[in-house]
Structure formats: C-alpha cells, structure tokens
C-alpha cells in the first residue's frame, strides 16, 4: 500500500515525460500548432509546474514530518486530557496560517493566469483577411461550409477543414440535432455546438500540418467515431485546394466509373448525398462532390481507400453501428464500379 502511494510522484513524473514525448502527435493539446493552442499549452505547462511544485512540497513536508526528530516543539505526552502548550498552539497556528495564505495566493495566481489566457484567446481573431468556416455538428459527422461575401464562392465539404497557415480562421459552430463539441486540441480548446445557436472560436495554424479533431460532448451511439481532420497548408496550396473543391465533380471517364455513377444515381444514395454536377443534391448527409480528395471516410473512422469505401457501402452498420447511413442493397457486381466512381471524385 505504501509502495503504491510512493509510486505516485514517480508516476506523475513518468506522465509528464510521456506527455512531452507526445510532441508530434496529431491530437494533442501539448503540441500546439497555433496561437490559441499555444496560449492554452503555456497555461497547461504553467499549471503543471505550479501544481507539481505544490505536490512535491506537500509530499516532502509530509515525509519530513513523518521521519524527522522532534525539534522546536516541546515533546508533550499524547493523553486524553492533553492540552497543548501556548507555544505549540502559536507555532501550529502560524504554520497553518502561512500555508493557507500561500494556498490562496497560488490559487489566485492560477485564477489570474486562467482568466488572462481566456481573455487573450477571446481577443485573438477578428483580424483582416480572415476566413469563416461554418462547422455544423450532425449525428455523427461534420458538415463544413466556407462562407464568403461572394455567394458563389461558398464551399461545402465534410469532415475535413483546410486552412491556410498564418491566416486567422473563425469557426462558426452550429448543430443540426443534439449538442456536439468541436475540439481540435492542437489548435484550440473545446467549443460546444448547440442547436439553433451560433458559437464561434478563432483558430490559426502557425505551421503546415494535419491534426485530428474529435467531438468532445457525448452525442449518441457513435460519438466516439465523430472525428475530423484539419489540414493546414501554405496559402497557394490552400487556394489551389479551394479552387478545386469549388468545381463540380469530374465526369466519369471510363466505362467502369460511368457505371458507378449510374449505380449512385439510381439507388438510395441520391436521397441524402450531393454530387455537384449530377442530379444528386441531397443535403442530410456529407457532400460527396470531392469525396475522393479527403483523408478519411465516415467522419475520420476509416482511411479513404477504395476498399474501405466499398466496405462502408456494403455494410456501414458493421463499421459504425447505429449511424445514419442506410444499408443500401447494392448488387455485388455494382459495388466495385460504385467505389471506383466515388474514389475518382478527387
């Protein structure tokens, strides 16, 4: 028992070391990739330092008091009728008073640091040349819409946000059904998405990279499989991506993908999905106009490969039980062309 207790400081240390070892991870608040996350990370480290120091001091004091000889305070027998001497009372009172004072000061410092960081975070953003990205939480995927003054520049995609490095991006959060929470730890803290309300936060990446985000508010059966990716790239890369995404879907070039398109248009797919450039314009499921260009399918659940696309269509309820993708009866000979077609939508 005492060995386990003694293990705590060691464990803390190990955890600290491990978390620094997390550097380079794609979903970690301790590998900040932008101004906002940087502030949060600094605060985290500051808290860790202060609280570790407190922890160490408390444990050390405890150990010292358990093991040292009795100096300074007169040894008095511990009897029922025992009344501490006035000197002992004074000493004890002073010690407790000082400890309480120091605790209050530390808590106050933490409070100031926390509020200060919050205030700083709220002041970042709103700068010129910013980008507005509307993120709508759905059970269990993310609809992404890039807003623009020019309506025809508005761009809709899903489960993947591309941002240019060094440009502030406002996340405009909405929800279609229940409360979700948008959390890309490498870029910012959590922000709840609430039905019929708009919440906002600003993110800004300071270097190119790919980071994973996750719904951080329990939202039903597949909450755990509601992820998204943020891809930060250079301005020219971002503009090229944006331009490509604005184009309608490429027409199928060969007989195989042409057949795949026919299968798509003649089945249940069109009841929910959009592929711009075809007659499919459903809007209750992810826009598939450029689905082939994305990193993952099923909201970060599977890497975007042809095999996974086919597997997902054939049996979505095996991969993500309870999700809202219908089990569509696709003939086995149609599955391959359909997956080929979707994969071709780069």
């Amino acid at each position: 028992m005492s060995g386990w207790r003694k293990g705590i400081p060691g464990g803390m240390l190990a955890a600290g070391v491990l978390s620094t070892a997390c550097a380079g991870h794609q979903q970690s608040a301790l590998d900040s990739a932008g101004t906002q996350a940087d502030r949060i990370e600094s605060l985290w480290w500051f808290f860790l330092a202060v609280l570790s120091a407190v922890f160490v001091i408390v444990i050390a004091t405890l150990l010292v008091s358990l093991t040292r000889g009795h100096r300074g305070v007169n040894q008095e027998p511990l009897e029922r009728t025992h009344v501490p001497s006035e000197e002992t009372e004074r000493n004890l009172g002073r010690t407790v008073g000082v400890a309480t004072g120091v605790t209050i000061i530390i808590l106050f410092v933490l409070l100031v640091a926390s509020i200060g960081t919050g205030k700083e975070l709220s002041e970042i953003g709103g700068k010129q040349n910013s980008l507005i990205v509307e993120v709508t939480g759905n059970q269990w995927w993310w609809n992404i819409r890039y807003l623009s003054e020019e309506p025809s520049e508005i761009l809709t995609t899903a489960n993947e946000i591309h941002i240019p490095v060094g440009r502030p991006v406002m996340i405009r959060g909405l929800s279609q059904d229940v409360i979700h929470s948008f959390w890309v730890p490498n870029l910012h803290g959590k922000r709840d998405l609430i039905p019929s309300r708009v919440t906002t936060e600003w993110i800004e990446a300071d270097h190119p990279g790919r980071w994973r985000g996750q719904c951080a508010e329990f939202c039903g059966l597949q909450h755990a499989h509601m992820a998204l990716w943020v891809v930060a790239e250079t301005e020219p890369q971002f503009e090229a991506w944006r331009h490509a995404q604005l184009q309608p879907a490429a027409a199928p070039q060969d007989a195989d993908t042409q057949r795949g398109q026919q299968v798509f248009l003649n089945s249940a797919c069109v009841l929910c999905h959009t592929i711009r450039g075809t007659s499919a314009a459903g809007s209750v499921a992810p826009d598939l106009t450029h689905v082939g260009s994305r990193l993952t399918i099923a909201a970060g659940t599977l890497p975007n490969t042809k095999g996974n696309i086919a597997g997902w269509i054939a049996d979505p309820q095996r991969i993500k039980p309870g999700n809202h993708m219908a089990v569509v009866p696709v003939k086995s000979e149609d599955l391959q062309p359909l997956a080929d077609y979707l994969e071709s939508l780069k």
């Binding site: 009841l271 049996d315 039980p321 219908a326 569509v328």
Partner: protein, 171 residues
C-alpha cells in the same frame, strides 16, 4: 432482497423488446418487398386467408424514432406535414384510401399511388420502409404507447404567441 430486486429489474429491462436496437438489419430485410397486400374486404369467391405480413418493427421504440427521422429526411413531411397533410392526405386519420394495415402502408410507400404518391421502391431500403410504417402507425396510436414518442419534434407553440393570437396582437 434489495439486490435481488435490482437484478430482476435489470433482467426485465434487458428482456424488453422495446429497447432492442436492430442496428444491423439482416440481408433479408434489405431486399425489396414483393408480397401483395389486399386492400379490399370483398374477395370474390369468399374471404381468403390472407398472406400474413408482419411488421418486423412492431412495438419497437428505436424503429419508431428512426421512422420519425426518416419521415423528415425523405420529405414525407413535405407533403403530409406532421400528420395533418397538405399536398398529400393527412396521416392522422381513421379512414385510409389504400388501407391502413402495415402491409398496405408498405405497399403505398414502395409502389406509390396513382394520384400523386411517389413510388419509393428501389430507393428506400425495405427495413427503412418498415420503420416509416411503424412511425406512421404510431401517429395514430396504433403502436404501443410505450414505444411512441410523447411529444412531436416540430415547433412548439410559445405561450406568448398563443396569448398574442388570442388578443390579435402581433408585435
């Protein structure tokens, strides 16, 4: 004693079919339905024993709520509103043009009806048609009360609006 009660309650709950979520329909339920339901009581040569078509989702709360979601997703509510009707006839009613039994509703959705009801066969998978049928039946309290949602999903009338309406004030 208390422990036993708790265990019994737990067992009772887990046994409840209402709570069952058939998230992964068997292939047989995804195939398009072909059986013909009778819509008329007059059957020449005397009443026949009808092919028994059971609604597989009967009494299941999860299927009712999935049906409710799909009712909006597939735009059923666009024509039938939330049961009151509009472009299409109401669905909260006692007299059905083409029969109100689950098999008739299934037929209506899959085959369509000549006066404007679209034929959804080949688009909506069979298991979802049954979910819709179950939801429509629940609108008419033909599903167990325990499986029926207590209140509708649509806009609530605010007390203020009701008062405004009564006073004819609309500011």
């Amino acid at each position: 004693m208390r422990g036993w009660t708790a265990i019994l309650c737990f067992l009772a709950l887990t046994a409840c079919q209402r709570e069952q979520r058939n998230l992964r329909p068997s292939p047989a339920r995804v195939v398009i339905f072909n059986d013909a339901a009778r819509e008329d009581q007059i059957q020449p040569g005397g009443a026949q024993s009808m092919p028994q078509v059971n609604n597989p989702d009967e009494g299941n709360a999860y299927d009712v709520s999935e049906g409710q979601r799909l009712f909006d997703w597939y735009n059923c509510s666009g024509c039938h509103a939330h049961g009151g009707g509009g472009i299409g006839p109401p669905l909260i009613k006692t007299e059905w043009i083409y029969g109100g039994e689950p098999a008739n509703l299934f037929d209506t959705i899959v085959k369509g009806r000549p006066n404007g009801m679209p034929a959804w066969g080949g688009r909506i998978p069979e298991y979802q048609v049954w979910q819709l049928v179950t939801f429509i039946r629940s609108m008419n309290h033909e599903e167990p009360k325990a499986a029926t949602p207590a209140r509708p999903d649509t806009i609530e009338q605010s007390p203020q609006t009701l008062q405004n309406k009564a006073n004819g004030v609309t500011r």
